[in-house]
Symmetry: C2
Subunit: 346 residues, 2 copies
DNA sequence: AAGCGAATTGCATCCGAATGCAATACTGCC
DNA sequence: GGCAGTATTGCATTCGGATGCAATTCGCTT
């Protein structure tokens, strides 16, 4: 009795397989398999019978089993790190949708500590993902591990010294050049730079981009401090800048919008400065809060939509044709002339 | 010649299997399999030889094949919808980390249109996920489909009429009661309510919670408008409120922080009102921007950390023991007395 | 009605790892 | 030294669907 109950419970739990459907429809398992494929040949009669049976049993092809035999899991790994900018959620949602339009699922990996990365690589290799899209830092060694496995990889907003790797990025240097030109053109002569975490490549690109351009234009009064991309550190950084220099600089260039917002608040609240009259503050990214009326940050917006579109497409192309050579795409940011800075007249 | 080249290229591409390792180590495939499991018996000598061979060949067990035979994919589906609040990214990252601590991977599904949901269900059933955690709306029919497949499911911030389903949520009604008490206690008598999208359960809970409590306290002057959780509509909603009523209400209760921020900006900029002197504005969620000095929103913060922890744990427990009965947990929000509203003295 | 090519269908095998069972090796004990 | 008892190891099978090949059926021509 208990055995019977067990068995029936088990049957309820067990999902219908192609064999079950085949039996139900009185055809072979291959036939069922073919009906659930695109290019396979199957007569209308067959198709109808199989679909009816499948429907009756609630059959769905097992993607795991299919992946085993076809050597395609139809999954890609998307790797993000915790520290990444506020705007990544958008990126994530957009990417997921792009992939899903192509029948590809996203296996998400979020790492907070550096040490996690090797575990992460291990996991994604075990799951035989068809491709990897990463917005987190990969060392050359890690890239090699993924490449050796023959898995295409696309870097999002990071570039590898290793030139064999495809990447999509926003041209941070170009964006910073524009910001600097505008600020210098408006007469600012002393500058504060608020960098992000030291191991953030994006931050490095932005701050060195800004510094290089400042120096090219003959600006010598530059003070640099660094935060962690967060609001609180934005405030601290502004305070630190003032303390270091004895007074506020003419302009502050923050490595992202959130820190720029922190700077604006700190300037206004703690230092009674007017923005932009007393101090100009600019950011980078073009995230939502940068548009809030209280801040209206002058910034460079990343063309997130086109970037994710591009990244997904590049990865899919390389999954379908692994011989495709690497490609690096850089997108120009969108210049946003907000009210948080005095700029050169247009 | 070309055949040889092909073959070698193919071998490079093909990943080492347990058979390859077995051959290399001069043992059986079963032995390799056992070495890569936890509770299996294997002598030290065997283990060493196998690990050496595995290491040499860069072998990693194929999670897909393993999943097929063990009937456990070690993946859970996390479903989010595009419209969801700004704070979901945190949720997503935290969840992913919780699961990954248990060796469970996250398959991400993002839906923007309602119609997507049936495709999504289909996809997650095909991938034989071990569990489903959803922050998007599931109709009773969809819940049934998942349950019939014997897959445990946990709802995040939604409750199903269907009481057989586990869920984790923030007690929205309680939060709204507190906000309303505070506002009424401080003497506010006319209220505007800014609701979210009409199909958002969270919004419905919040606004009816607020309205019920207002009515209980004898407040009759209530005007309701609705937006889409975004900043822009927050601004529009405030304008709409003023237009509808002919003047601003004493207080505005927004369904989330972002719209509250929109209201604050609109009140200040377009209507030259002081916040909170002329109008009090409160939100819900406790997202990052709510803390920015320019807004300092009075709100109820969701205990995201505990909620995600709880949700992940509940799902994992039910994966490991499917007989476990459903459980609903409600967490109290954290009261944040910001500067955007006049409140009753503590 | 016979004949021919194309479309369908079934058979058998494969993907890569897990596992019950049986065979073997090893341990300690008398 | 012999034997019971335990720990290792290998064999064979299994998970669920895809696919090359051969057998069969169908449609159409003459």
């Amino acid at each position: 009795m208990s055995r019977v109950a067990d068995k029936s419970a088990k049957r309820d739990r067990r999902r219908a397989t192609s064999y079950d459907v085949a039996r139900e429809a009185g055809v072979s398992q291959s036939a069922v398999s073919r009906v659930f494929q695109d290019g396979a040949s199957a007569s209308k009669a067959m198709r109808d019978r199989v679909l009816a049976a499948a429907n009756k049993l609630g059959y769905r092809p097992n993607a795991i089993a299919r992946g085993l035999i076809t050597q395609r899991s139809n999954m890609v790994a998307v790797v993000i790190s915790k520290l990444t900018n506020l705007y990544y959620p958008e990126v994530l949602v957009m990417l997921t949708q792009r992939f899903s339009e192509h029948g590809i699922r996203v296996l998400l990996f979020a790492l907070d500590r550096e040490s996690d990365i090797s575990n992460t690589i291990d996991a994604l290799l075990q799951y035989r993902v068809d491709g990897v899209l990463t917005a987190a830092m990969f060392e050359s060694r890690e890239l090699t591990a993924v490449e050796n496995a023959g898995i295409p990889i696309v870097l999002y907003n990071r570039t590898a010294r290793d030139s064999r790797v495809s990447s999509v990025r926003c041209d941070q240097e170009e964006g910073e050049r524009w910001l600097v030109e505008q600020l210098v053109g408006a007469g600012h002569r002393s500058f504060g730079i608020v960098a992000g975490p030291e191991d953030s490549i994006v931050s490095i690109e932005r701050t060195t981009g800004a510094r290089t351009e400042l120096e090219r234009l003959g600006v010598v009064d530059i003070t640099t401090v660094s935060g962690d991309y967060g609001y609180e550190t934005g405030r601290c950084c502004f305070a630190e800048l003032v303390e270091k220099r004895g007074s506020a600089p003419d302009a502050v260039i923050a490595a992202n919008d959130v820190m720029a917002i922190g700077c604006i608040d700190e300037a206004r609240e703690a230092h009674k400065l007017r923005v932009p009259e007393d101090v100009s503050i600019v950011g980078f990214d073009g995230v939502g809060p940068a548009r809030y009326a209280a801040y209206d940050v002058t910034t460079v917006r990343q063309p997130v939509h086109r970037m994710t579109e591009s990244a997904a497409t590049m990865l899919i192309e390389r999954i379908e044709n692994p011989e495709l050579s690497p490609e690096k795409r850089a997108f120009s940011g969108i210049q946003v002339r907000g009210g948080s800075a005095r700029l050169a007249p247009e």
